[in-house]
């Protein structure tokens, strides 16, 4: 449009006062090589990862401020952290961890096996406010054998123990400072908390007495930029150097073409679904639910709502997982067949229903496109936008809805379909049986085939319409190195990030 020529004009007709402003302002943008500004969409409510479910807490603190016995790496693998090595007893019921030496907390107090025992006992104890208490359910006892040696005894075999201990909810805290971690987190990581301007930014500083290889950055600022538009402007103007989980897919094409930026589309654990209340009116009929699934053009949806950043899915399962099946044949995109199914179910003229949409843009945009798709088979959707507060109360808890769009971001969460009283209102003895076998199975092949069975059942029953897997899209400054591409857990690990020279 004309704005370009206006810009050129302004540049040429050097308005004197504005130019002097420009010279001064120029400096504030230049990134020096010791600091990093990171954009994030949600502000954490507090900064104690052992006392809250919010992903934003882990995003800031995980690996940067707090460390656990083990940690999860950029590709979802288990790596040693405070435990440099470990030994598992032959019966698999006892783990011995050998701890790193010379570790101290940010307040200067030394770290030892006692802190490990304190942290794990606190997380699994009776008064625990840990959001992921089930992670520790297999633990019988934690014993501090020596200052640098801890033994964890189990009630039963738990193949995922090392993985579980790598979660943000299992980090090691100090007895003295545990209570204050919400406001002023004190851990053992390479960065220490420096200040928090509410609603604006959280600042971390390099910790000079870190036990491992020191961080390359002096200062890291996590800037809260919730609005997608503001996120684009902040990236384009250089106000932030990296934005993991970038909220505006529409801008990515242009950012990719810009040599100042690198764009990465990694995988995420977010299955986005059109959830249906399986007990609400017409939706109680499996034919209607299948018709809904078949009327949605998922490819166009990914294109229209996510600008191509996302992968269509056919069941409630991450497509990058080795056990994932392609079940497109269960409910292929076929408007004529969808109409036919509706007619069989007795809804030849369609029906009217409401679609409640939470705030994220995948839901709001997806909702508009799906309403357009479903209108082609006669289902008229009334769109009701809701805030998360209302969504939780109304849809999730109250089950007072017909359709909603939401992304389930927990890893491996197909088991929610077996939960009684879950908001889908789905109830299948067959599915419950598969999940029961799955919980008992330990052999990988057997587990995969059971997971495949589970995927097939919910796809066949069209419990929900499975739309697409969210992409974890990050935008970085082109000169930045060492950021995570995938999001196996909700972390923004900056311990190895550095600027290219």
């Amino acid at each position: 449009m004309r704005l370009n020529s206006l810009t050129k004009l302004l540049k040429r007709v050097a308005l004197p006062c504005l130019l002097s402003v420009a010279c001064l302002a120029g400096n504030s943008h230049a990134s020096d090589h010791a600091s990093l500004n990171i954009g994030m969409q949600l502000e954490p409510p507090h900064l104690d990862p052992t006392a809250g479910a919010a992903g934003a807490i882990d995003a800031v603190t995980y690996a940067n401020i707090f460390e656990g016995l083990t940690r999860i790496g950029a590709h979802g693998e288990v790596l040693p952290a405070l435990a440099r090595s470990w030994k598992v007893s032959p019966d698999g019921l006892s783990y011995t961890f050998y701890l790193a030496k010379g570790v101290q907390f940010h307040d200067g107090s030394p770290f030892s096996a006692d802190d490990v025992k304190f942290s794990l006992d606190r997380a699994r104890g009776d008064g625990s406010t840990n959001a992921q208490k089930p992670l520790f359910s297999a633990i019988k006892e934690v014993v501090a054998v020596a200052p640098n040696e801890v033994r964890v005894d189990l009630l039963r075999q738990e193949g995922s123990l090392l993985f579980n201990l790598g979660w943000g909810d299992a980090v090691i805290v100090s007895r003295q400072s545990a209570k204050g971690n919400r406001k002023h987190p004190i851990g053992t990581g390479p960065f220490q908390f420096s200040r928090w301007v509410k609603g604006q930014e959280i600042q971390l500083q390099r910790f000079d007495h870190y036990w491992g290889s020191p961080a390359k950055l002096d200062t890291v600022r996590f800037k809260v930029i919730a609005d997608p538009n503001a996120a684009i402007a902040a990236v384009m103007a250089g106000d932030v150097d990296a934005y993991p989980g970038f909220p505006a897919p529409e801008a990515l094409g242009h950012l990719e073409a810009d040599p100042r930026f690198k764009v990465f589309a990694g995988s995420s654990e977010g299955e986005t679904i059109l959830a249906m209340n399986n007990k609400a009116g017409p939706l109680a009929d499996v034919r209607v639910r299948r018709a809904v699934s078949m009327a949605i053009d998922k490819q166009a949806l990914v294109e229209g709502a996510m600008y191509g950043y996302g992968t269509p899915i056919t069941s409630h399962f991450a497509p990058h997982h080795p056990a994932a099946l392609d079940l497109a044949a269960e409910t292929p995109f076929d408007v004529r067949e969808a109409k036919h199914l509706l007619k069989q179910a007795g809804y030849e003229d369609g029906f009217t229903a409401t679609l409640k949409l939470p705030p994220p843009s995948y839901a709001r945009r997806g909702g508009e496109l799906i309403a357009s798709d479903l209108s082609k088979i006669g289902i008229k959707l009334k769109i009701v936008p809701v805030e998360w507060a209302q969504w939780l109360a109304d849809v999730f808890k109250g089950k007072n809805y017909e359709f909603t769009i939401v992304s389930h971001t927990e890893p491996m969460d197909i088991g929610i379909y077996a939960r009684k009283d879950y908001y889908f209102n789905y109830d299948s003895a067959e599915f419950d049986g598969v999940v029961k076998q799955l919980n008992a199975a330990s052999d990988t092949q057997a587990r995969y085939s059971l997971l495949g069975e589970a995927q097939r059942i919910i796809a066949r029953d069209a419990v929900n319409a499975y739309l697409f897997q969210l992409a974890n899209v990050s935008v970085w400054n082109a000169k930045l190195e060492g950021m995570w591409k995938d999001a196996p857990i909700q972390a923004i690990d900056v311990t190895h990030v550095h600027w290219q020279d």
């Binding site: 609603g199 930029i225 609005d227």
Partner: protein, 316 residues
């Protein structure tokens, strides 16, 4: 004068009391449970109940109102559900953005608007007035957030002269803070300046009609001098009213501009607190803003009465 002031003070308290009731009731009606929001999708019934108790949500309505209202009288604004810090601290943080933003915007609007208004009155009947008035009409019709988008596009993204948003903070120097507030202030100020200019012009034209202006002219004072010495001074009364109204608008009504520039101001605090169901923060912040608005109106009224004795009748 004293009687008038007392009468107005009584009205002030009445308004504040009624407003506090309205705020409390509206916020009680908001759908969604703050405790559920804090626990998210993982909260079970037991911890939900415990949290509600802890937040004081289980007390009877009347008691909750009284606790809140009397607390405010003592300067206790409550503790934010979301951040678990006193709301007063949040407000103090936010005021360091909202107050300067409003002040800069108001100063810009005044510096631009008043001279333009005087010019328009002076040029009355000439073509230049028609041009000026057309410009002012467009200014009044501009949605400020749209103007803000254009400013960001030109000055931040294309020219990269000023930050696209966020607040650098005063501790990094005066310029760092000012540069983050410049574009938002311009976006807020331009439409307000157009309004001010129009008010100034019509007030001037009204005043120039009065007898004392004729007298001054008859005494041989030049048109120019009359306009400035008598006209502008007397036209200030309606202009001041509008300025008073604009100040409260700029403090609270900047929500949209604060969203565009993601500035951590008061309006944005309320907006975010509503979506997070941080009800105590919403209540207390709105009450603070209402109090500010009412107080500004009160002082403008008093100032009038001091200037113009005819306005001092007690019950209006």
């Amino acid at each position: 004068m004293l009687q008038f002031a007392l009468w107005r003070i009584a009205g002030l308290w009445w308004t504040l009391f009624a407003a506090s009731l309205v705020i409390f009731i509206v916020i009680e009606v908001l759908p969604g449970d703050p405790a559920q929001v804090m626990l998210g999708m993982s909260g079970d019934a037991q911890s939900l109940g415990a949290l509600r108790e802890q937040l004081g949500l289980n007390a009877p309505v009347a008691q909750r109102y009284l606790t809140w209202a009397t607390g405010m009288l003592h300067g206790d604004f409550g503790v934010s559900y979301t951040y678990s810090v006193p709301v007063a601290d949040l407000l103090r943080e936010r005021l360091t953005v909202s107050l300067p933003l409003a002040a800069i915007a108001l100063a810009l609007a005044t510096v631009l608007g008043l001279p333009l208004g005087v010019l328009a009155a002076r040029f009355r009947g000439r073509l230049s007035e028609a041009g000026l008035m057309a410009g002012l009409q467009v200014g009044v019709a501009l949605p400020n957030f749209w103007l803000a988008l254009l400013l960001i596009y030109v000055f931040s993204i294309s020219l990269r002269w000023l930050p696209a948003g966020g607040f650098a903070g005063w501790e990094k120097g005066l310029w760092a803070g000012l540069s983050s507030l410049l574009l938002p202030a311009v976006a807020l100020a331009l439409p307000q300046a157009a309004i001010l200019a129009r008010i100034m012009r019509s007030a001037l034209l009204d005043v120039m009609h009065e007898d004392y202006i004729r007298t001054a002219r008859a005494k041989g004072l030049s048109r120019q001098a009359t306009l400035w010495r008598h006209g502008v001074r007397n036209a200030m009364i309606p202009v001041l009213t509008v300025l008073g109204l604009q100040f409260s608008f700029l403090i609270a009504g900047a929500v949209i501009i604060e969203s565009v520039f993601y500035l951590p101001g008061l309006g944005r605090l309320v907006f975010q607190a509503i979506s997070q169901r941080d009800l105590i923060t919403v209540k207390s912040t709105v009450m603070l803003l209402v109090t500010a608005t009412v107080l500004v109106a009160f002082f403008v009224d008093l100032a009038y009465a001091a200037i113009d004795p005819r306005l001092r009748k007690a019950p209006r």
